[in-house]
């Protein structure tokens, strides 16, 4: 069979709109995931027994179940359980928030706790409250150590959006699937889809590399 470039040309507008949605879900999901992850990670690292247990349960629940099950639960089970109607897009973003949040929590906890204990003591010994020690002293050191594992998680989350094909969100993989079902040009379509994903993850990697270079790891 011959590789037909015109197939790609015709599919491109739809694929690009899919890619736009993929980016949107990833960005919104990661912003939320970072917020959730920081809170849960700090609860794990510095919270009292109760906060620690809550964060621990959340993290284990999410890490112990597949993301496809999580999004199906949010989209199909939640409406039945709690009478909440969610559209596919909301379900997709929520799934990334909840899922990435759990993994980011572990990254946050690990990097905060990896900072030498003496720095925390030196901050406290000046008479600072713990929150200021975390914000001004431990946080900036921990943040630099978080960048590589966070980058990894960002890429995983971006690729995870392809699984939302199961709830019919028109992201990149779904668009590819629909075009393929109409024209049966599997080679052209899945090559184009793969390259679009590579472009997105490649850009992410590049941004992270630059950020990492500009910050001295301490």
């Amino acid at each position: 069979m011959e590789f037909d470039w015109s197939v790609i040309g015709e599919a491109m507008p739809a694929l690009l709109s899919g890619a736009r949605l993929t980016i949107l879900i990833t960005l919104a999901g990661l912003v939320g995931g970072l917020a959730v992850g920081f809170v849960a990670g700090l609860m794990r690292a510095y919270g009292n027994a109760f906060l620690n247990a809550v964060a621990f349960a959340y993290i284990e629940l999410i890490r112990g179940t597949p993301i496809v099950v999580q999004v199906m639960f949010i989209y199909f089970a939640l409406p039945v359980l709690a009478d909440i109607r969610v559209n596919p897009m909301t379900a997709a973003v929520t799934a990334i928030v909840v899922n990435a949040g759990a993994y980011i929590a572990e990254i946050v906890r690990g990097s905060f706790l990896s900072v030498h204990r003496g720095l925390k003591e030196a901050g406290l010994a000046l008479g600072l409250p713990l929150w200021k020690v975390l914000v001004y002293i431990i946080g900036p050191v921990a943040f630099r150590r978080m960048i590589p594992p966070l980058g990894n998680q960002f890429i995983v989350s971006l690729k995870d959006t392809s699984l939302f094909i199961v709830i019919g969100v028109g992201e990149l993989t779904r668009q590819g699937q629909e075009i393929m079902a109409a024209n049966f040009r599997a080679v052209e379509i899945w090559s184009a889809v793969a390259i679009l994903y590579l472009l997105m993850t490649g850009t992410l990697t590049l941004i992270l590399r630059v950020t990492e270079k500009r910050m001295r790891i301490l």
Binding site: G118, L119, E121, A122, A125, L126, G127, L128, Y136, I137
Partner: protein, 242 residues
């Protein structure tokens, strides 16, 4: 007038008793040198004073505030009692100047410009006027420790706690730190110093305390105790550190 008052203080780590009903009064202006075998509780005693360790029994009053008086009071104690650590513990993401200006800015809440002005004066005082823009990783151990002393002084404490400030340093770098400490003592700063530097104890110390197994077993004038250690275990200890 006492600035530090241990009243029957007990400290345990799980089943291990580290301080056993310690009574100790330290007056303003004293330079107390604390010595004793490894594990005798010297660091713990020091760390109880600024509440880095919580006491389990008795009471401990620092500048008229009990370490048991609650979080905000504990922060006041910590502002009155500066601490210098064996491992310096400088903030690695900040320059020397920023390290020293940090306390006044974030604890006392003064402006950045004013804090840096004071920090420059303090760095000059510890002989590092030219090193303000260097990061800790770019300084020698002796320089780092002097920055750490300046950082503690910046919060204007009434009392300074030193936990083996020269133990992590090469011998040829120790004297520069000891000289700064001596100058501080001569200005009248109240100091409690855990150290093995017996020359410092003799020349600068006004009081020498020997700890053993969580208790103070000898307490007296450095000159007398070092010239004539009557306690046999102190005598043996001194033979090892000399």
């Amino acid at each position: 007038m006492s600035i530090v008052e241990f009243r029957n203080v007990t400290k345990t780590f799980g089943p291990v008793v580290v301080l056993r009903e310690v009574d100790l009064n330290i007056d303003k202006g004293e330079v107390v040198v604390l010595i004793g075998p490894s594990g005798s509780g010297k660091s713990t005693l020091l760390r109880c004073i600024n509440a880095l360790e919580e006491i389990n029994g008795g009471d401990l009053v620092v500048d008229n505030i009990s370490v048991k008086a609650g979080r905000s009071q504990v922060r006041l104690i910590r502002q009155e009692a500066g601490m210098v650590f064996q491992q310096f513990n400088l903030f690695p993401q900040m320059t020397a100047l920023e390290n020293v200006a940090f306390g006044p800015r974030r604890v006392r809440g003064i402006s950045r410009a004013e804090a840096e002005e004071q920090a420059r004066a303090l760095l000059a005082k510890v002989g590092l006027a030219e090193r303000g823009h260097h990061y800790p990783a770019e300084l020698s151990g002796g320089q780092q420790q002097r920055v750490a002393i300046a950082r503690a002084l910046a919060v204007k404490p009434k009392l300074m706690l030193f936990d083996e400030p020269t133990s992590a340093l090469d011998p040829e770098l120790r004297h520069e730190v000891l000289r700064v400490m001596q100058a501080l003592a001569e200005e009248g700063m109240t100091m409690i110093v855990v150290t093995h530097e017996m020359a410092f104890a003799r020349q600068v110390g006004t009081r020498l305390i020997f700890m053993e197994d969580g208790k103070i077993s000898v307490d007296g004038k450095p000159a007398d105790l070092l010239a004539n250690p009557e306690n046999p275990r102190l005598r043996e200890f001194l033979q090892h550190v000399h």
